[in-house]
Symmetry: C2
Subunit: 559 residues, 2 copies
């Protein structure tokens, strides 16, 4: 495969389509396209360079045109009139929507397989209705109605799952209802002394951020799905944002939560930390809607930073760069953002004509970002700079850092035109302890490459570290290749190979994408049969009828 072809593909893929930085409080257009990534205002065509690069990967013809949304056939509405009436009684008839647009827009999430299915007109997982409750009590009431009528419920805040978290097993149920929490969009309370805020689950990232900034605070949580994802989803799926080194993961920000279940309310969190039994907040966080619906969280917030600096660094190799990141994670100081691309992902960025990365290609690009009080940022940055220099890093200045920051929510927008052009692109991620990280990266890259090459579609596999801890880090992979005749089967095989590699390295099956249905089997292996049984037992207590997201996280059977 021609190396230059790969690079130019990667360039086109990762270089920032839109150059204007997205302000973190800029609210995207409400009402996303049912099967295109993110904010319609940022959709774009495919630059000619990518067409050429895709050719280099064996793409010969564009994929069949996507079925237009209006023409996607939906299964008949299975909801009984009684059930519909009961739901309408709880939330108002105007908040129960069985129309084509609402059902299609709530069909599955944002993974490549999700998009591929909708492109071909497969909306078999469409819910029978979308219900929009207006309060916590209405959520509880809706869950009770659904339990009575044996209707499966898909809790939905942002709808951005990339792991099949919004496609429940319909078998055995009288219908499927999506519970869209967008009306739960209040900043309920700010406690400036404790620096906590109570946020309702339906607040999307930019909304929450805008409301908090009016009070002088920030959440500091910026996952790549930021434009569409919501507070409830952050909590239910253990989101990790791009500034996790400085602000922590979302599950570390949550100090309290309210859970609606078919049997009533569970309220947790009386103090930051305690020894009062197991930390049940951590049982609910990551439960992906199968134990209940998180309707609000109390989160730790921070003052809006007075200073922000983003920079680039070059390291001679991924190993050298990873060692530098490890030094910062273990011995401090920790930047707010800390990332490292591998050689191929870096080649991409170095070849990006808009980014002035200094002396020639090669090596690995790291991004460091610092946010906070100006004096604190200056001191932290100076100390981190010393560590990075001592670890063999070459400073590249603000250019690459600001370029990364400006485009950080934009990369996924290229997926849709790539799919249309006959290419396949998807991402996956994992995490491990530091000592196993390089073996893990090699194993996953090897597995993806072997599987996809064996199917006649040799891939480009890019990798970066985006989240660091004292004892380990995450790895994030981007895979690009030509679409095979059956791209769903093609990706499923590649994903299975990657999962096997991850499991054989003893690493986590997911670092921040979640389990959904895609990782369910590997997750069960990871925690073992007794732990699976324990989770089923908890579910039976909180959701005796098993209506909550059946088949997500856990096998649908129970016990």
């Amino acid at each position: 495969m021609p190396k230059l072809g790969l690079v130019s593909l990667a360039v086109a893929f990762l270089s920032r389509v839109a150059r204007s930085p997205l302000a973190e409080t800029e609210l995207p257009v409400v009402g996303f396209h049912p099967y295109l990534w993110g904010d319609p205002a940022h959709h774009s065509g495919l630059p000619p360079a990518i067409h050429a690069a895709l050719s280099g990967l064996g793409v010969t013809a564009p994929a069949r045109p996507a079925v237009p949304p209006d023409a996607v056939p939906l299964p008949p509405v299975a909801l009984s009139e009684q059930a519909r009436a009961a739901l309408a009684t709880e939330v108002g008839a105007e908040h129960v929507d069985s129309g084509h647009d609402a059902r299609l827009a709530h069909t599955r999430g944002w993974s490549t397989p999700d998009l591929l299915r909708l492109r071909t007109g497969d909306a078999a997982d469409a819910p029978d209705a979308v219900v929009f409750p207006g309060s916590h009590d209405e959520v509880v009431a809706v869950l009770r109605v659904c339990a009575e009528h044996r209707i499966a419920v898909v809790p939905y805040s942002g709808g951005t799952s990339v792991v099949g978290g919004l496609a429940p097993a319909r078998a055995g149920f009288a219908g499927v209802v999506t519970l869209d929490l967008r009306r739960l969009d209040a900043l309920v309370e700010v406690d400036p002394v404790s620096r906590t805020a109570v946020l309702q689950a339906g607040l999307r990232g930019p909304q929450a951020e805008r409301l908090l900034r009016e009070q002088g605070f920030t959440l500091g949580h910026f996952p790549q799905s930021y434009e569409g994802a919501s507070i409830g989803g952050y909590a239910a799926a253990r989101s990790a944002g791009q500034s996790s080194a400085g602000y922590g993961r979302f599950d570390e920000m949550v100090v309290g939560l309210v859970l609606a279940t078919p049997r009533g309310t569970v309220e947790l969190g009386t103090a930051p930390k305690s020894a009062a039994g197991p930390d049940l907040r951590q049982l609910v966080l990551g439960s992906e809607g199968v134990l209940g619906v998180i309707t609000s969280v109390r989160v730790r917030v921070r003052p809006v930073p007075g200073e922000r600096v983003f920079e680039g660094w070059r390291f001679p190799s991924f190993e050298a760069g990873a060692a530098a990141l490890r030094r910062l994670a273990q011995d401090n100081p920790l930047p707010t953002v800390l990332r490292l691309s591998d050689e191929l992902e870096t080649a991409v960025n170095l070849a990006d004509p808009a980014a002035a990365l200094g002396s020639g290609p090669g090596g690995c690009l790291a991004i460091t970002g610092y946010e906070g009080d100006p004096a604190e940022v200056a001191a932290r940055r100076a100390a981190a700079t010393e560590v990075l220099l001592a670890a063999g890093g070459t400073p590249l200045g603000a250019g690459p850092g600001e370029s990364w920051r400006a485009g950080r929510f934009r990369a996924p927008y290229l997926r849709d035109p790539i799919l249309a052009a006959g290419g396949l692109v998807e991402t996956l991620e994992t995490a491990a302890f530091w000592s196993g990280l390089h073996r893990l990266r090699a194993a996953v890259t090897e597995a993806l490459t072997t599987e996809l090459t064996g199917r006649g579609t040799p891939p480009v596999v890019l990798c970066h570290i985006s989240h660091v801890y004292e004892t380990g880090a995450s790895l994030y992979f981007t895979v690009v290749c030509a679409q095979a005749a059956d791209p769903l089967a093609q990706w499923a095989a590649a994903k299975t190979a990657a999962n096997l590699a991850i499991r054989s390295c003893g690493a986590a099956i997911t670092h921040h994408h979640g389990v959904g249905t895609d990782h369910r089997a590997a997750y069960a292996e990871e925690i073992g049969p007794l732990a699976v049984e324990a989770l089923h037992a908890v579910k039976r207590v909180l959701d005796p009828a098993g209506i909550l997201n059946p088949g997500v996280l856990l096998p649908p059977a129970g016990g």
Copy 2:
């Protein structure tokens, strides 16, 4: 009540009886006294000043002399010969001990009520046998035998519970066996790259610390029960050490664990953090032996610090001092140790002739400690000093800091002679968000004072902050008064009043002592009936016969 009497009592109580600092790796004498705190090498009599001070609190006569250990009557051994033989088959006959000394030494824990009961010769909770398994597999095997024979099992690593965590409900069982993990005392593995270590559950604090330091690492975990407590207990009861600001709580150090249950093994932790479902490690941590027996943990370790500095600061009031601590916790830099005594606890220290605290009495004493690389410590200390000065603190130099460090494991040793002299002393603790902290302190102090004064035994109530977080902190109370005729009922009433105050403030029923049996009812209120039911359901999966620590953490009845 004469104020000076209180102060001199407090002086005597809190001033360090033994002046020689205890090295953190100094291994205490093995074989503690069955009902005296800690290491027998440090037991001492009561200084005359305390006798005088106790008089000021209404103590008129010494308590009845304690029944000597040999003379404490034990209930007959209830274990059947078959059960005993089955246990012996699994661990060897020499590791099943039904002798008087072993049974008495494993009767209850180290709370004041525990000591009061043994002093009067009440050992009704003595186990029928103490079993010493030699491996994880032997633990699983013992649990299976006990499930078969319906024998209740008390997991026991250090035996230092102060909340009744070692006194299970015997009703309905054919016997009670204590599972003493002291033979699981290996440092199994050190991963210097990831900075993790695998420690077996039976390692006591100083043992673990000594083994780790041979490899250049430290756990940095120093709870007040350090001399006796063990790794398994730290994990099972969510211990927080005195250096928690710098090293974190024990539940934050654990990245992996192995749990033995009657149904087999659960192994958790593939990466520092992940989005693979709920964090089940946090379900096991704090489960206090009712879900299984933690046999080993993988913990984050740190290099042995090259530099240590401990200092004292004076603040004009508790409120001012708390505001300073909050500044450090929220805006950094965070010292490794950060504590603040209230006015009365401070008066004690200021009156301590051995500590040179500078200009006169009054105000509140804070202790700051810094550990780490010398340059890092210097920078952090300089920055923290600026914050403390700006917050109105007066630096008192190294004297009070070093004095605190030298005596930090010694204060509890005075309890035994105080009890013998007819005084009553006990501690309790809670945690809350910052904005509720002062109301909480006032409410608990008021509740204890009113209740005990109403019973004719007006108390001294001292308070300090010993653990800080971005969003809140812990409060630790020490209560001293005269013993009433029935000191158990007296303390139970005081404790109930304190619990009520804590619950009415919405605070955590315990920050680091745990739930045990003492906090069980308040804990159930705190998490609510659905969460209690969920925990019971998990227990039924892992421990279907309900043999594990019945009545601890959860009501014994089940579901």
